[in-house]
Amino acid sequence: MWRPGRLVERNALVARRSPALFLAGFAEPVLLLLSIGFGVGGLVEELEHRGSTVPYAEFVAPGLLVVAAMTATAMDVSFTFFIKLKYLKTYDAVMATPLGGRDVAVGELTWSLLRIAVYSTAFLLTMVAFGLVHSWWALGALPVALAVSFAFGGAGLAATTYMRSWVDFDKVWLVLIPQFLFSGVFFPLDRYPGWAATIVRCLPLHQGVEAARQLVLGQPTWAILGHVAYLAIMGAVGLRIASRRIDRLLAP
């Protein structure tokens, strides 16, 4: 049996109880798209990007897709995971079964990936409905969103295993919000001085934004593979650390 799958089953059973929250998570990225993409887009109109002019909404949308993946996963693997780990003690009983730390980590991450797959597909369809997609390459944005989710999920699980109390959670925002604001989602990197642009290029969210934007705009380059590899490694390393830490916390 694939042990992590059992934890996914459990989460699905719990989620069946409150479908409203499941749906509400989808609303935010759409609101962002409408207000910033179209609302502010009315003020920006078009911008130059990689040699072609792009309506602002089309420029912003792929970034929002990736941001949504990052934020939704980050919430799963920080707040929700911490509450289950420390307060609900959901995993204490699990550790008495054949499942171990690695199964818990992989299981939670898999569940998050499934959620993100649903959200991302829905958001991509929304983008199509708003007329923001003109290339079949855009389908590639879905695996990119999953890669982003994998990266932040693995790293987030590892980070959460080090947290002692809810006071540590502001650090989650410290990691997410600057990336959200400055990774090229809302304006291109050529707005930055050289040194700043270099720093941004190293950030994980930027990998996803860049890759997704290239695909959605129909201008893929080989660099996408590099971006995805970065995300895959980040997630894998985080997952490894998280598995060991969970074992150490729950089976000392």
Binding site: M1, R3, R6, L7, E9, R10, L13, V14, R17, L88, K89, T90, D92, A93, V94, M95, A96, T97, P98, L99, G100, L250, A251, P252
Partner: protein, 342 residues
């Protein structure tokens, strides 16, 4: 509830067997009777940094018996149990459970165990029934079989009418019953219970003991930790007395009592320290072992009444005199100089 009945062949079996809850075998047992103990530990150690919780203990547990770890809080019982449950890696020594190495084959061993922890750790986000189903799925049980078993276990735990309820509103006794039912979902070879009746009222305790007897009759091996000497005496076939991470002695309850104390004890209670001290001198010759506690003197005696009479004849006037049978508490006191409640 677990009782005894006859199965189709007329053989006396636990009701649980007849209902299909347990496999169709009269006790004992599931696996072929091979040589070797079910659980075997040699020089088992567990330390947390500098603190040594379990200091090189050795024991073996046979199939089908009820085995107890008796000792005060902090003796290392829970740490030992967690190692046997493969929920904590041993720091040193050898531990073999069900003929597998605990250090390397944890998941396979856990698949054959049932664990009832000291504090209930039910899944509060799921209903009562879902707790059983989800837990069974962690063991890889197939859904149809799982449903049937879960329903039987709910009946056993007398929680059938609460199947769809959340766990939080249940009483402490109900939660404990559910936890035990959950531990049986995979038909384990061994059930580990850590302080099973702590925090329960006397009625619930006795009801629980009864269920544990029934499990034993069905051939399930039980390993219990407890600091209640009545629980150890009532339930355990054999036990091990632990203190400070070491095993101080082992044997059946009766063997331990015969080995270390006389049949009866005369308790003399004194409100005034000086009276007690004076009495201690006077009774010295009346018993081959006098234990001096904070407010009492305990005299070992083969015939308690006779000794009590002799004490009275010697001019000792205690505030209260009690003649009772010797218990494991006295054994522990003799072995370690402390009471189990310390």
């Amino acid at each position: 509830m677990f009782g005894v009945t006859r199965n189709a062949a007329g053989v006396l079996v636990g009701e649980s067997v007849a209902s299909g809850l347990m496999p169709e075998q009269p006790s004992p047992l599931r696996a072929p009777a091979g040589g070797g103990a079910l659980i075997e530990a040699r020089d088992l150690r567990k330390s947390f940094g500098d603190f040594v919780a379990v200091d090189g203990i050795s024991f073996s547990i046979e199939r089908g018996e009820v085995f107890g770890f008796l000792g005060p809080n902090g003796a290392g019982k829970t740490s030992t149990m967690r190692m046997v449950a493969c929920a904590s890696p041993p720091t040193g020594g050898v531990l073999r459970v069900l003929d597998m190495d605990a250090a390397t084959e944890g998941p396979a061993i856990r698949a054959r165990l049932g664990v009832v922890p000291q504090e209930d750790n039910l899944d509060t986000e799921l209903s009562v029934l879902d707790n059983l189903l989800v837990y069974g799925r962690y063991f890889g049980l197939e859904r149809g079989l799982l449903r049937r078993r879960a329903e039987e276990l709910l009946a056993f735990a007398q929680l059938t009418d609460r199947a769809r309820d959340r766990v939080d509103p249940l009483s402490g006794g109900m939660k404990r019953r559910l936890t035990i039912a959950r531990a049986l979902i995979n038909q384990p070879d061994v059930v580990l219970l850590d302080e099973p009746t702590t925090g329960l009222d006397p009625q619930a305790r006795h009801a629980l003991w009864e269920r544990l007897y029934a499990l034993k009759r069905d051939g399930v091996t039980l390993v219990i930790t407890t600091h209640y000497m009545d629980e150890a005496e009532q339930l355990c076939d054999r036990l091990v007395v632990m203190d400070g991470g070491c095993i101080v002695d082992e044997g059946s309850p009766r063997q331990l009592i015969e080995r270390h104390v006389r049949r009866e004890v005369v308790e003399l209670r004194f409100l005034v320290e000086a009276d007690k001290a004076a009495a201690a001198v006077l009774v010295e010759s009346l018993s081959d072992h006098v234990e001096v506690l904070a407010d009492r003197l305990l005299l070992a005696a083969d015939d308690g009444d006779a000794t009590a009479a002799a004490v009275h004849a010697a001019g000792v006037r205690a505030d209260a005199v009690l003649v009772r049978r010797a218990s494991l508490e006295d054994v522990f006191l003799r072995l370690t100089g402390r009471t189990l409640e310390d």
